[in-house]
Amino acid sequence: MLETFLFFLFAIVAVVGALGMLIARNPVSSALWMIMTLFSIACLYITLNAEFIGVIQVLVYAGAIMVLFLFVIMLLNLESMPSLGDLDWRKVVAFALGIAVLAQLLVVISLKLDVMPEPVAIAEAADATSATNIGIALLTEHSFSLEIIGVLLLAATVGAVMLAKKRFV
């Protein structure tokens, strides 16, 4: 019960953060709103018992990726976006209502068509996503993918240097 409550609480916070990111007129505020979204997604993972993924979400996305976002915003020295006053609010409301109707329809259709797969028991899911079990899978059956990911990260490093250093002009 608590899980369900927290899940929907954080889901709403995530959506609010995403909307805030879109509505904010200053790129830096947008980035901060996005941190809120990423953080609540991490909380969502934790309510689903995927603790490791949740922690990684905070570490990599809310931490590292957002740092890069802020760097790029400052790199580009973005001006503030034009204010929202220019928007036609009737259209915005109409859009929101349309989305609401669409969501309702989709729910009805999905109930009729048996869209949702059988959920996995929470205990089973929690077991599969513990850091230990991820480690075991990662280093045995996914060892090939792991090494290729290493090569991918190397290529990303090389690419970043090639795109940024003067020697390559």
């Binding site: 059988e118 996914h142 060892s143 290729i148 090569v151 991918l152 290529a155 090389v158 390559f168 002009v169």
Partner: protein, 493 residues
């Protein structure tokens, strides 16, 4: 616990070898900038990998608990990818040296991209599929933006990156939904899981998103917008690499996904229609837009969109068309590497010559007969004249479409090919029948040699096209065998 490691490393040796040498090239380049040995090393490892794969075409195997496939189908596709990479590396050395961009990193990135393509094309699970796709894409984004002082190159790299990242999102979402619907990441377990769960809306959504990701990577029509800009802006030989090897990898992965999780008799029926409609639109739009292009690289980009449509025709025919599609991929790789190779030689300095149009190349055939003849062969092959390889490629995919009851699709394909003859032959008219005096002064006065390496690749491509056209059965039998033998059907129904 790690008993599987050594045999599986042996089974995936070509991929690991290419990736390893890619890493080694980064080390070599760190210690001696742009060392002359780097292209040689990368050429050597590609040749070695091709040799290993050729020896393994007969076996069917899988490695790393089914996450990677090896031998048979995988080896065949790897050979095509590696041939594309080898041709591009050899052509790139003189081209990039002339434009002053022959960095060691370029060759390292080409090798790493090639390894990524092979992982994508040999994927046994959705995880390896994604890892391969990303490895390939990241390297290609960087290679597209190689010429940093060229605004068009920057624009094309940015476009490619943004749209590519967007399509990766689709791809990843599709993977997540498929996993949610079937509970497994393994492609080989999916049919059984589907029988158990039935075909949920989750599954259909996952397939749709995955297909969008694939359509983007093979530049099928509603998702083709990036292709002309990227091919025009990227260094020419690397555009050839992108248009051949990466498409081969994406198509091979698409065959794996379609063959494994969407068997035609049952759940895949409407997916076949989606493929057929996308193929039809792609052929029509690609060919019609190519008619309007005067810039030859841009024309080749639209032509590559059209060819994606032809190959999709083969895939829409289901298991009947897979062997034909594989033959087509091989033929297409050879002729497109050749066509981009000729253009790379004609862009002799990468500056004045970088924008070659139909007008600027008037009469170049009589000045450089080798280039003229080679371009003639490539254009005839691309438009599908017998007895060159392009003809049989088209024949196989269209015949498969007719056999599968998609006669209308084959008809559209044939009509589209007729249209394509106009723009391919227009290049030849410019090359041979216009007088050199019609061209720009800068082109007339430009003195440039055809580098020996480029000559070798172009002659090899011409010879391969003729050989593939005279004895097409050799390849189709090999390719067809992947889809009938019991071991292969076990892997790929």
């Amino acid at each position: 616990m790690y008993d599987f490691l050594l045999p599986d490393m042996g089974a995936t040796a070509p991929i690991l070898l290419v990736a390893l040498i890619g890493v080694v090239l980064v080390v070599v380049d760190s210690f001696s900038n742009d060392s002359a040995s780097i292209p040689w090393l990368s050429g050597a490892v590609l040749v070695a990998a091709i040799t290993i794969e050729l020896a393994r075409v007969g076996v069917t195997d899988s490695a790393f608990m089914g996450h990677v496939m090896s031998g048979g189908f995988a080896s065949f596709v790897n050979v095509v990818i590696l041939l594309g990479a080898l041709g591009s590396v050899i052509l790139s050395v003189p081209y990039l040296s002339r434009t002053g961009h022959n960095f060691g990193e370029v060759h390292a990135l080409i090798l790493i991209a090639t390894a990524g393509m092979m992982v994508l094309a040999n994927a046994g699970s959705l995880i390896t599929l994604f890892v391969g796709l990303e490895t390939m894409s990241i390297c290609l984004y960087v290679l597209t933006g190689l010429v940093r002082d060229n605004e068009r190159a920057n624009e094309s790299a940015l476009k490619y990156f943004l749209l590519g990242a967007f399509s990766t999102g689709f791809f990843l979402y599709g993977i997540a939904l498929l996993y949610g619907a079937t509970g497994t990441m393994m492609l080989s377990d999916m049919p059984a899981a589907l029988v158990e769960t039935g075909r949920t809306g989750f599954f259909a959504g996952g397939v749709a998103l995955l297909l969008i990701g694939f359509f983007f990577k093979v530049s099928a029509v509603p998702f083709h917008m990036w292709t002309p800009d990227v091919y025009q802006g990227a260094p020419t030989t690397l555009a050839g690499f992108m248009s051949t090897a990466s498409k081969t990898a994406a198509f091979a992965a698409l065959i794996l996904v379609l063959g494994r999780i969407l068997p035609l008799d049952d759940v895949g029926l409407d997916t076949r229609h989606v493929l057929a409609i996308v193929a039809a639109i792609t052929m029509v739009v690609g060919n019609v837009l190519a008619l309007a292009q005067r810039n030859i690289k841009r024309m080749l980009a639209y032509s590559s969109i059209a060819h994606a449509g032809y190959i999709l025709t083969g895939l829409a025919a289901g298991a009947l068309g897979y062997a034909g599609a594989l033959y087509y991929l091989l033929a297409y790789t050879v002729m497109n590497i050749g066509a981009f190779g000729v253009m790379s030689v004609l862009e002799w300095d990468g500056k004045q010559g970088a924008e070659q149009t139909i007008d600027s190349l008037a009469g170049i055939g009589s000045r450089k007969p080798l280039l003229g003849v080679a371009m003639g062969v490539f254009m005839f092959a691309l438009s599908g004249f017998p007895p060159l390889a392009g003809f049989f490629g088209k024949y196989f995919v269209f015949a498969a479409a007719v056999d599968a009851g998609l006669t209308w699709l084959a008809l559209i394909g044939v009509l589209a090919s007729v249209v394509s003859a106009y723009y391919y032959l227009r290049v030849l008219v410019a090359f041979w029948m216009k007088k050199p005096e019609d061209a720009h002064v800068s082109v007339q006065s430009a003195a440039f040699d055809v580098p020996l390496f480029s000559k070798v690749v172009l002659v090899a491509c011409v010879a391969a096209l003729i050989a593939l056209g005279i004895v097409p059965g050799f390849i189709t039998e090999a390719a067809g065998a992947f889809f009938v033998t019991p071991e292969a059907t076990a892997l790929l129904p």
